[in-house]
């Protein structure tokens, strides 16, 4: 594939797009594992959300 005399501009555009999209994907994946880990830690400490608590008589 011959990109002609402006190949640098084409490659730069695709490189920037790949970098930004990869950053977005990394953000959602890493954030998900971080939130799951923190939730797991809190549950291990016996903390539960109000909606999960069983009503005591």
């Amino acid at each position: 594939m011959n990109l002609g005399p402006h190949a640098d501009f084409i490659v730069a555009a695709y490189a920037v797009t790949v970098f930004v999209v990869a950053a977005l994907v990394a953000w959602v994946v890493l954030d998900y594992s971080a939130q799951r880990r923190i939730l797991g830690d809190l549950e291990e400490q016996g903390i539960s959300r109000r909606s999960q608590r069983k009503e005591t008589p």
Binding site: I10, V16, T17, L24, D31, L39
Partner: protein, 243 residues
């Protein structure tokens, strides 16, 4: 399951957990096919191979506006119905919209230099998209810096609705003012001005980008719901420690 049931965060999470693997797979497949078609698309008779930048620039531009539309609907949900999932949707969409607007601006500049001879001009289309990017940053600042999350969300929703005025300005700027940016060439009266050999790869890439947006948005919404659960559990922990 009725659609209204999905407004429950727990049910929404269950649905997203089932949907996300499929959405990721469809997105990757669409990008693989779209990029393959883009690589084999012919050069433009005037612009040469630089037309390949269009396969990124145009979908990113569409998404930058569509994402603001999604945020505007979410803002209405936040302000009118005060629904927590609407606020989650708005907050999760903002960074993704900012990222696609950034891609639109950068790829547009990189396309403009060989095509127009300049990276940037202060014409109505380019300037209104830059304003959109700044509005995204403003919304993000409100979400991320407000001490009271509820107040920050309402302020961000108001800014989102005010900023929605900019979307038709972006769309019609090339018709209302003299701009260096070309007028609409895909959706216009009389049909597309683009040859099908270039138009089809562009449409496939646009669908791929749209799937990427919804995949990222659902994933970010799931993260935001979990983050709010963490916050409420920490508040409970602090209250129990004080009692």
């Amino acid at each position: 399951m009725a659609v209204i049931d999905l407004a429950n965060p727990t049910r929404f999470l269950a649905l997203v957990n089932r949907m996300l693997p499929w959405l990721w797979a469809i997105t990757v497949a669409l990008f693989a096919y779209g990029l393959l078609r883009s690589m084999h698309a012919p050069d433009d008779y005037q612009q040469g191979a630089t037309v390949k930048i269009m396969f990124l620039h145009v979908p990113a531009a569409w998404l930058s506006m569509m994402c603001w539309g999604v945020m505007s609907v979410a803002a209405l949900g936040t302000l009118v119905w005060r629904h927590p999932l609407a606020d989650v949707a708005g907050k999760a969409a903002a960074p993704i919209g900012a990222a696609f607007t950034f891609i639109c601006l950068v790829t547009g500049s990189l396309w403009g230099r060989p095509t127009w001879g300049t990276y940037w001009v202060w014409d109505a289309r380019l300037t209104s998209v830059l304003v959109l990017f700044l509005l995204y940053l403003g919304v993000l600042a409100l979400y991320w810096t407000a001490e009271d999350p509820g107040r920050g969300s309402r302020a961000a929703a108001v800014l989102t609705l005010v900023g929605a005025v900019n979307i038709p300005i972006i769309k019609f700027s090339v018709d209302w003012w003299n701009t260096l940016h070309q007028p609409a060439s895909i959706m216009r009266m009389g049909g597309s001005a683009i040859d099908p050999s270039i138009l089809w790869p562009l449409l496939i890439m646009a669908v791929a980008f749209t799937f990427l947006f919804f995949t990222l948005h659902f994933a970010a919404m799931r993260n935001e719901i979990l983050r709010r659960r963490v916050r409420s559990m920490r508040i409970m922990q602090a209250q129990e420690a004080r009692a």
